[in-house]
């Protein structure tokens, strides 16, 4: 177990280092930040001074180590646009993204699991077939297209919900949240629905397969023999059994929600970190781009690591298989 942990953690660190080199070299070395930072009519002496101040005259690997040292201390440099530490700006935007992602996940569970159960129980009925059609659409339609349609229908045509922005926020334990007021909630509904669509389809498929598998099991036959009502068997016994795998998979997919929030946030101008990075790519605000990419990648590597460790605890075959 210890050997497995050490190997797995080393692997994560190596991957993170490789990613940081890739992002650093890619974003900082291609193109010259000096051209953006100083006036075009600066004298050669001023230019040389700026290069020296930014440490751009040093060899690349030395620059990388300076960057890495800063990054480990949470210092990614100041944003060119906001003139504040990049990390601080991103962390300011983080709650908005997390609120959106959690709401979307909540909706996916709340809508996807019951629909999937219905589709599994009535798989020959038109309701079941239509639910499956909906889930196929949810998988294949591009997120941004659905977002566009939501805006056209609910905010342009019907004028029910606002088309963008975050609305009023209330501090909850020091974190600004928007689901506590109607104004905030009305701004949250459309983007969260949009982001939830893909995961809802996934939840439908998983719980449909789960129900079909569980219906064949002995405990269901036993419950029927005992004379329990159908609604009790399905709503209590089967429900409990399919919740565990479905929620595990959805939990593992949480990182994907944060990555996909980039698209949803851009469409609905939701002030999260996804919109921030797209805006920053547009104006070449390098420190923000680098900080966002590295933070997201770190988060992913961390989620993967935790999942692997949990699995190896639950199922020893995972770590034994790795040693072969």
């Amino acid at each position: 177990m210890v050997a497995f942990l050490i190997r797995r953690i080393t692997q994560s660190v190596v991957v993170l280092l490789v990613m940081s080199i890739l992002v650093f070299v890619g974003v900082f070395y291609i193109g010259n930040p000096i051209d953006i930072l100083i006036a075009p009519d600066a004298s050669p002496a001023e230019y040389a001074r700026a290069v020296k101040e930014l440490g751009l005259d040093k060899p690349l690997f030395e620059q990388y180590f300076i960057f890495l040292k800063g990054a480990l201390q949470g210092n990614f440099g100041n944003s060119f646009v906001y003139n504040e530490p990049a990390l601080k700006i991103i962390l300011n935007r983080l709650p908005a993204t997390l609120e959106l992602a959690f709401t979307a996940m909540f909706m996916a569970v709340l809508i996807g699991i019951p629909l999937g159960m219905v589709a599994g129980i009535r798989h020959d009925h038109w309701i079941g077939r239509n639910i499956m059609r909906f889930s196929i659409l949810g998988f294949s339609l591009p997120t941004f297209w659905v977002g566009l349609m939501l805006i056209i229908i609910f905010s342009v045509q019907l004028n029910w919900l606002p088309s963008g922005g975050r609305g009023e926020t209330v501090e909850l334990l020091g974190i600004p949240v928007s689901f506590l007021t109607w104004d905030g909630l009305s701004h949250l509904i459309l983007p969260a629905t949009n982001l939830a669509l893909f995961k809802t389809s996934l939840a439908i498929r998983l719980s449909r397969a789960g129900v079909q598998e569980n219906l064949q099991m002995d405990y269901v036959k036993f419950a029927k023999a005992k004379g329990l009502s159908n609604s009790r068997i399905i709503g209590l016994h089967i429900m409990k059994n399919i919740m565990i795998p479905v929620i595990t998979v959805l939990g593992m997919e949480f990182g994907g929600l944060i990555a996909f929030a980039v698209v949803t946030e851009t469409i609905f101008s939701w002030p999260g970190m996804g919109k921030l990075v797209i805006d920053s790519i547009g104006v070449l605000d390098r420190p923000i781009i680098v900080a966002y990419l590295l933070i997201t990648v770190t988060m992913f590597i961390f989620i993967n690591l935790i999942v692997d460790i949990l699995y190896s605890i639950l199922d020893p075959r995972v770590r034994l298989g790795d040693e072969r």
Binding site: S140, I152, V156, A259, T266, I278, I281, F300
Partner: protein, 296 residues
């Protein structure tokens, strides 16, 4: 004898395909779209990127209106520059389809070679490649593409590269597992007895037996590539302004959505939707009919 049997198998597959009416409609629509896209320069009423043929006087006209000199009818309206949307959509379809198909084909080729190589070398090479594949597949496609395009910048070559990078790992893994199954079959033992060089056995005999079902699966994957390209272009990370794919057309119209000029982004969106649904319908059916493993 063998010839007639082969033909009957083909006809059998066609018949089985045609049992699903939705799939036939999907395939027909897809063929029409492909033909429209290929013939765009000949059938579109206007060349939307020739500045001589567009007129700023005609900007933001609603669908069905005629140009101010009454020479052209804009059935799907015009955008903010006075371009005919119908022509722009035809040209956009061309670019979206081209990028989607090209990137999938390249990814399939690269993935096959790498997957085959991993299975063939085994040991450390295999472990290393498969680790890289697992790692890449653990990140969502959009994040990988975002990192690459943030580093590389805009451009048609860059977006194709990004789409290839996103897709190759899937094919490498699938090919490798197929090769591991095929490697132990009798025909491989037979060609080994002929003392053919290993490379020829792998590329000449094993690979052709591993790829057909993957080629069928890749038709569905084209739809995913097109959707991802549209998403990236919509975010302003993909296509340059000079090569507007459907995603970029939708993005251009998005600004005007609130002001009631819905057609500038809705019609390219509808075209994208029809394209993706048709590919899915046709590809799914094709996979069901041609994949012997699913039949039983």
């Amino acid at each position: 004898m063998t010839h007639s049997k082969k033909e009957s198998l083909f006809i059998q597959a066609v018949k089985e395909y045609c049992e699903s009416r939705v799939a036939v409609i999907g395939l027909l629509c897809l063929l029409v779209i492909i033909i429209l896209a290929l013939l765009a320069p000949y059938i579109s009423p206007q060349n939307p990127y020739d500045l001589m043929s567009i007129d700023i006087m005609d900007s933001k006209l609603s669908p069905g209106s005629t140009s101010y000199d009454e020479s052209v009818t804009y059935y799907l309206g015009t955008d903010s520059q006075g371009r005919d949307m119908f022509s722009a959509i035809l040209y956009g379809l061309r670019i979206s389809l081209g990028v989607g198909v090209l990137s999938t084909v390249i990814a399939l080729l690269i993935g096959s070679v790498i997957g085959l190589w991993a299975a063939y070398r085994g040991g450390r090479t295999d472990a290393f490649i498969m680790r890289a594949v697992d790692l890449q597949l653990s990140f969502p496609a959009i994040l990988v593409a975002l990192i690459l395009l943030a580093i590389l910048g805009k451009g048609i070559d860059k977006i194709i590269l990004a789409l290839v990078m996103v897709q190759w790992a899937y094919y490498a893994r699938a090919i490798r597992s197929n090769v591991l199954v095929e490697r132990d079959k009798e025909y491989v033992e037979a060609v080994k007895c002929l003392a053919l060089p290993q490379r020829r056995i792998m590329f000449g005999h094993v690979l052709p037996n591993c790829t057909p079902e993957l080629i069928v699966i890749s038709t569905v994957k084209v739809a995913g590539a097109i959707a991802l390209e549209a998403t990236l272009s919509f975010l302003g990370l993909g296509m340059p302004i000079t090569k507007p794919s459907l995603g970029l057309l939708i993005s251009n119209g998005f600004k005007y959505l609130q002001s009631g000029y819905y057609w500038i982004s809705v019609y390219p969106g509808v075209a994208l939707l029809i394209l993706i649904i048709c590919i899915n319908l046709a590809g799914d059916r094709l996979r069901d009919v041609l994949n012997p493993r699913l039949k039983r």
